[in-house]
Amino acid sequence: METVLMDNLWVIIGTFLVLLMLGGFILLEAGSTRMKNAGHIAGKTIFTAGIGSLVFWAVGYGFIYGEGNWFIGLSNFFYGDTSFSGDGLSPAVDFMFQMMFALVALTIAFGGFAERAKLSAYVVFAVLFSALVYPVVAHWIWGGGWLADHGKQDFAGSTVVHLTGAMAALAATVILKPRIGKYNKDGSSNELAGHNQVYTALAVLLLWVGWFGFNGASTFGVSDAFFGYVILNTQLGAAAGAVAALFVAWALTGKADVPTMLNGALAGLVAITASCGFVEPWAAVLIGVIGGIIVVGSMKFFDRARIDDPIFALSVHGTVGIWGTISTGFFATNELSVGMDWGQPGLFYGGGLEQLGVQVLGVAASGVYAFIVSFIILKVMDKVMGGLRVSEEEEIIGLDLSEHGSYGYPENIPHPSEEQAK
């Protein structure tokens, strides 16, 4: 009984840590964007977490874990299970932990909205994403859906959380189009630098710590202290990602770019999320290094493709989420896959191409579903709501003022009438 209670305690601590990651996202997004949007960006993360929580309670959890079919769960709506058998996790503890992942995915998706979407677009999409997009992918992989049957490995959510969020962000970015001033007529792009690198750095540290709950508590227990191993791999992945990205940025541009290095740390974390429970520490380092390298290439790619991604959500969570998921297809050990009754070993451990195939299939199916459904939802919203984007004037004045009526930094921004007077 004591161990069971400790299991529950560990998972609820993990829940708190993952919730605190939203604080990391607040700092990350605010720091990576301009001052005139800071209050809006920070505040929307809180109220969309509120919306996401209510939707998850009403239908999200049921769609993921309810009794249903290969595609979706269909019971346990308006969750309120007070029972506890004394064995395993209390249903409420499990519910709370799962809810946090849904909120993180939603927050990632909103990275694609930054600095130009209407407040009302956030409200409506928070409801629809939390009901129709995230739960379906989560059901497929974690809720006993068709990909779970194939033995797809995603320890803490490279695909379910990060890729799903990023695909929704991609759909939003494509529909919303680039921010004013991002691209010049000749196709060259301008750097709309974030207003506070200190926020961004603190954000990464906060997320890093939160990630110990995200990955570590995904062991769902303490009995064999496996969480320590998972956290070790997580640490190595993040560390390697930061170092690799800094080196690549310096080698390619001659500048040891701080935002790129920070994205490298996050890339390492995203990459190791799927594989942290399946691979050896040396592989965690390699997975982090590759994550740190490809995030830099991906950022460049999206910039050249004129896809404006202010928070780099597409690269950090999307491109690297794909890499992280596929990485277990190479590096999963026999002991940590077959030994744990979760899929097959990877290519480098004698598993052949089987697990790699399952991982690729999982990424493709989940990514395509999340993108298409998000795209349709956003297109319909666009039509019904008369556009998702604020007016040009509102975007220039800043969303703090246009959407909320007051600036996040009232002392530091000249009032528009003062500017006109000059």
Partner: protein, 320 residues
């Protein structure tokens, strides 16, 4: 002839110049005509010039290293008293407006004869340069270094020479300031990456283009300016400085011909520039493989020149 006519003359001839030297001779001709016209206008309105004076150029114009587009960097030295300053500031304003009409952008940093800092009597100029060197902070040394690349376009040559003498004796008495001057220009923007690739601008209007001014020209210009300051060489053009200084510093010999061809290299690519900002950039796409090799060579040698100059100056000054 009015400013518009001078502008037309400039436009008709600017693209016909076949090399760097001819181009700068044309700039001098155009600017001289403009300043003469400005002087006539001010004389009509304010009366005769109250004191002898010199109108001098600084920056790339001072060094005779202008491209087809250039901004304004200039000042006035007059041999008179404070009461006459107003006249020369008015003259400065007329010159600035005239040059702007003719095709020279106003200087963003306000290094122009219309500004009180850059129009002074001989006595005040001497005080000014000494104060700059005494303060020896980042900003004052920037002003000093800007001033030092100066050359008289119209008026009495001696005034500027006198002020430069004040500088030379200050430096002789205070060699410690040389290391501050070296630090002030010590940052060289990287033009070549770790894989030996050229590093163009990563974003903005100039994305994909190399800033040849900051990555390539600056180490040469800064090195020779530092040597000129410490060796009492008054001429401003970098090529003239090479000629004067190579007797004492034989290592400069190889860099002189390199710098000469660098100016022609820049001249070749700056022909297509549409404005002042563009003259400092070369699109990577326009460079052939051998152009790229050539440019990298200029960059590497520039860095080597700066390191060698820094070393030899620190060594010399420690012995003073």
């Amino acid at each position: 002839m009015g400013y518009q006519e001078i502008k037309q003359y400039r436009e008709q001839h600017i693209h016909k110049q076949v090399n760097h030297r001819q181009l700068n001779a044309l700039h001098d001709e155009v600017m001289e005509q403009t300043v003469q016209l400005a002087m006539e206008k001010v004389e009509e309105e304010q009366g005769k010039v109250p004191a002898p004076f010199a109108f001098f150029l600084m920056g790339s114009a001072g060094r005779s290293e202008q491209s087809i587009w250039s901004d304004q960097d200039h000042g006035i030295i007059y041999d008179g008293n404070q009461g006459e300053k107003e006249y020369f500031l008015l003259l400065g304003e007329e010159i600035v407006s005239g040059l702007e009409i003719v095709g020279y952008e106003r200087c963003e940093g306000k290094v122009m004869a219309s500004e009180s800092m850059w129009t002074n009597s001989v006595a005040d100029w001497k005080k000014q340069v000494t104060t700059w060197l005494e303060e020896a902070n980042w900003q004052s040394l920037r002003h000093f270094l800007t001033f030092f690349d100066s050359r008289v376009l119209i008026g009495n040559q001696h005034f500027l020479a006198e002020i430069k003498q004040v500088i030379f004796s200050y430096i002789k008495d205070h060699p410690g300031v040389v290391s501050r001057l070296i630090d002030n220009v010590g940052f060289i923007r990287k033009g070549i990456g770790v894989f030996g690739q050229l590093l163009p601008e990563p974003s903005g209007q100039m994305m994909g283009q190399i800033n040849i001014k900051t990555t390539t020209l600056f180490p040469y210009i800064n090195s020779l300016r530092l040597l000129a300051i410490t060796n009492e060489a008054t001429k401003a053009p970098t090529l003239d400085r090479f000629t004067t200084l190579k007797r004492k510093y034989p290592y400069l010999e190889q860099y002189q011909s390199l710098f000469q061809s660098l100016l022609e290299f820049k001249f070749r690519f700056a022909q297509q520039a549409n404005n002042y900002q563009e003259v400092h950039y070369i699109p990577l796409k326009q460079l052939t493989k051998s152009d790229k090799q050539e440019l990298k060579q200029y960059m590497k040698k520039g860095s080597a020149l700066f390191s060698q100059t820094k070393k030899s100056l620190k060594n010399e000054c420690s012995k003073w």
